[in-house]
């Protein structure tokens, strides 16, 4: 169901955590809240689920106001980072728990539990206790249990961060597959940039209790709204310079720029550097690391800034050599220095 958050503020122990957050998630959409720990993304999730009370603002689910509704009547289910499975129940009983709370008969709910355990690729493990399951299996049970509640809104609170890299990849594709199948409106909280970009229809980048940018992954990555968002995705360096008469001039590089005159920082990511075309940017090769799939080349500009470029076919450069590169301007962003944010 469609989720609308309007001007939400939340404090914890008299500390303001969220300051006037507004966010709309369309029905069936998969949205990620991305930010460093402590930015308020988990707080936002818990407030939507009714675990934390807001100071102000409103939350609407499917057009209905749920701000004052107690947690158990909201139909918003969180998959917690620490899973929170019930250790005194079997896997099947865990999955059947929300159905029991809904008053579904025992035979019916255990049948549904078995079906869901199959959906998360744990067929036949229904009778296991939590201590007899691995971390990855427990995460799948937690996911099945959340699905069993048939939530109007599924909330994932860093559900993969306790898993190792291989399992994480597997769980991501499982969640993506289940999202396609069930079409549930889903909000994922994560600090993993690639996870957010790869899984979501839209990404909301958060910092210090505010949403800085909310857009499709390509836009958020390629055209960050400000330097904080750009820095979150990393791999970027800034060239300070001036725009005068439609031309940006810095000590390393100059280009056309249809901007009002003033001082600007040009955000330049490794991906925007075209090493194979000679151009206006002179860079020194500092390191060459062959990694099998690609080669990672560290390039340094005259002012000491460095970029790491991944190249499929690396020319026969030697360390210390200076090369001349071109820059793709569609992947660069100008930030005005005069009103920095």
């Amino acid at each position: 169901m469609k989720l609308e958050i309007k001007d939400l503020s939340v404090s914890l122990q008299a500390q303001p955590i969220l300051r006037g957050v507004s966010l709309t998630v369309e029905e069936g959409e998969f949205v990620s809240l991305l930010g460093h720990s402590g930015c308020g993304k988990s707080t936002l999730l818990k407030t939507v689920a009714g675990i934390l009370p807001p100071d102000g603002g409103s939350i609407l689910l499917g057009g209905e106001e749920i701000t004052k509704l107690p947690a158990h009547r909201r139909g918003t289910v969180i998959v917690f980072q620490d899973m929170r499975l019930f250790p005194h129940m079997t896997a099947a009983e865990n999955v059947a728990f929300p159905l029991k709370m809904q008053g579904v008969s025992k035979a019916e709910r255990l049948r549904t539990a078995e079906e869901l355990l199959e959906k998360v690729q744990l067929p036949g493990l229904g009778q296991r206790r939590m201590s007899e399951l691995s971390g990855g299996q427990q995460q799948r049970v937690a996911l099945a249990r959340a699905l069993a509640a048939k939530p109007k809104l599924l909330l994932l609170d860093e559900p993969f961060s306790s898993l190792d890299e291989n399992l994480r990849e597997e769980m991501r594709s499982l969640v993506a597959q289940l999202h396609r199948e069930f079409g549930m409106t889903t909000v994922l909280v994560t600090h993993d940039r690639e996870e957010a970009l790869a899984m979501s229809h839209r990404v909301a980048v958060m910092s210090a209790g505010k949403i800085l940018q909310y857009d499709v992954p390509e836009e958020v990555y390629r055209h960050p709204a400000n330097r904080t968002v750009a820095d979150y995705f990393g791999d970027c360096c800034y060239l300070g310079g001036r725009v005068e008469n439609g031309r940006f001039v810095s000590e390393l590089f100059s280009c056309e720029a249809a901007l009002p005159d003033g001082r600007y920082d040009l955000m330049l990511r490794a991906g925007a550097i075209r090493t194979k075309q000679a151009g206006a940017l002179a860079l020194t090769v500092r390191q060459i690391q062959f990694r099998g799939v690609d080669t990672l080349v560290t390039l340094e500009a005259g002012n000491g800034q460095r970029w790491k470029c991944s190249l499929r076919d690396c020319p026969a450069w030697s360390v210390g050599e200076t090369i001349s590169c071109d820059v793709t301007l569609d992947e660069c962003v100008f930030f005005s220095q005069d009103n920095r944010n």
Binding site: A49, I51, P70, A71, H72, R73, G75, T76, V77, I78, F80, D82, R84, F86, P87, H88, F97, P98, K100, M101, Q102, R129, M130, S131, E132, R145, A146, A149
Partner: protein
């Protein structure tokens, strides 16, 4: 390596000394209860003292009194202590003055509690005097007899005053942590706060509650001061009866007193065994976590 062994021996010494003392006493009780006390001229092993104890009306009534005190104190303390914990959790009282107030009775010695009770609740006590002064009752002797009754209500009430906070203290930390994580998860999955408490928080706190229950049961079963100070003259509680038998001026009664102690010892061991079995079974049911 050799030095390490010495360390262990030195560190263990006090424990071993205490254990030896305990075992020696148990051994003493055992042989004396079978009628073997050469110092008193008793050298023949016999089970007749046990037979006598088990047929003795006074002993059986004392046993009944102690079991009743232990059972009522432990059950009521556990139930009311859990309710107190649940209330504290519902009000989110995690620390502060309230918790200190709850903990205070745990620190007060049993004998002092008995004196409090007598000062407050006896017919000559503060409450009776205030009630008489206010004209609620015509004279102090009309105040209901709460202490020194054969049902041991006074002793049980004193135990409750001390042990309800003990249960809360024993259970609260675990209950808070379960409620904060798994209880929250249950509500998130559609359980009302009440159902979340009964289907998740309470079952997962049960091992601690049962432990507290058994500690109180065993303690109140063997407790001496409260039944002595707040109970009736007849029937007496088991520890009081056993002490009287032990203090009998006729030394040839000693095997009888020791047989009484032997029965108390066996009952205590049985309870300790039950404690072990229950704890292990519950740990297993919780999937090895508690």
């Amino acid at each position: 390596m050799r030095k390490k062994k010495w360390h262990i021996a030195v560190l263990l010494a006090p424990f071993l000394a205490l254990t030896a003392l305990l075992l020696l006493s148990v051994w003493n009780v055992a042989i004396q209860s079978f009628g073997y006390i050469p110092a008193f001229g008793l050298t023949e092993f016999t089970t007749e003292h046990y037979a006598k104890v088990l047929q003795d009306e006074t002993f059986l009534r004392a046993l009944g009194v102690s079991l009743r005190i232990a059972l009522l104190s432990a059950v009521l303390s556990a139930v009311l202590g859990v309710l107190l914990s649940a209330a504290l959790i519902r009000c989110r009282k995690r620390d502060g003055a309230m918790l200190y107030l709850v903990r205070m009775p745990i620190l007060v010695p049993h004998a002092v509690v008995a004196v409090f009770a007598i000062n407050l609740l006896s017919q000559a006590g503060l409450v009776a005097r205030v009630a008489a002064a206010l004209g609620l009752i015509a004279e102090q002797s009309q105040f209901p007899q709460l202490l020194f009754t054969p049902d041991y209500g006074g002793a049980i009430a004193a135990y409750l005053w001390k042990e309800i906070p003990f249960v809360a203290y024993f259970v609260l930390a675990l209950m808070f942590s379960v409620s904060d994580t798994l209880g929250e998860a249950a509500e998130n999955l559609g359980a009302s706060p009440l159902r979340s408490f009964f289907s998740v928080t309470l079952p997962l706190t049960l091992p601690a509650i049962v432990k507290a229950f058994l500690i109180i049961f065993i303690f109140a079963f063997g407790g001496y001061e409260l039944p002595l100070l707040l109970g009736a003259t007849v029937p007496k509680a088991l520890p009081v009866q056993a002490y009287l038998a032990y203090m009998s001026p006729n030394l040839r009664d000693r095997p009888y007193a020791m047989a009484m102690n032997g029965v108390i010892l066996l009952l205590a061991l049985a309870m300790a065994a039950l404690y072990g079995v229950l704890t292990r079974r519950m740990l297993k049911r919780m999937g090895g976590r508690a």
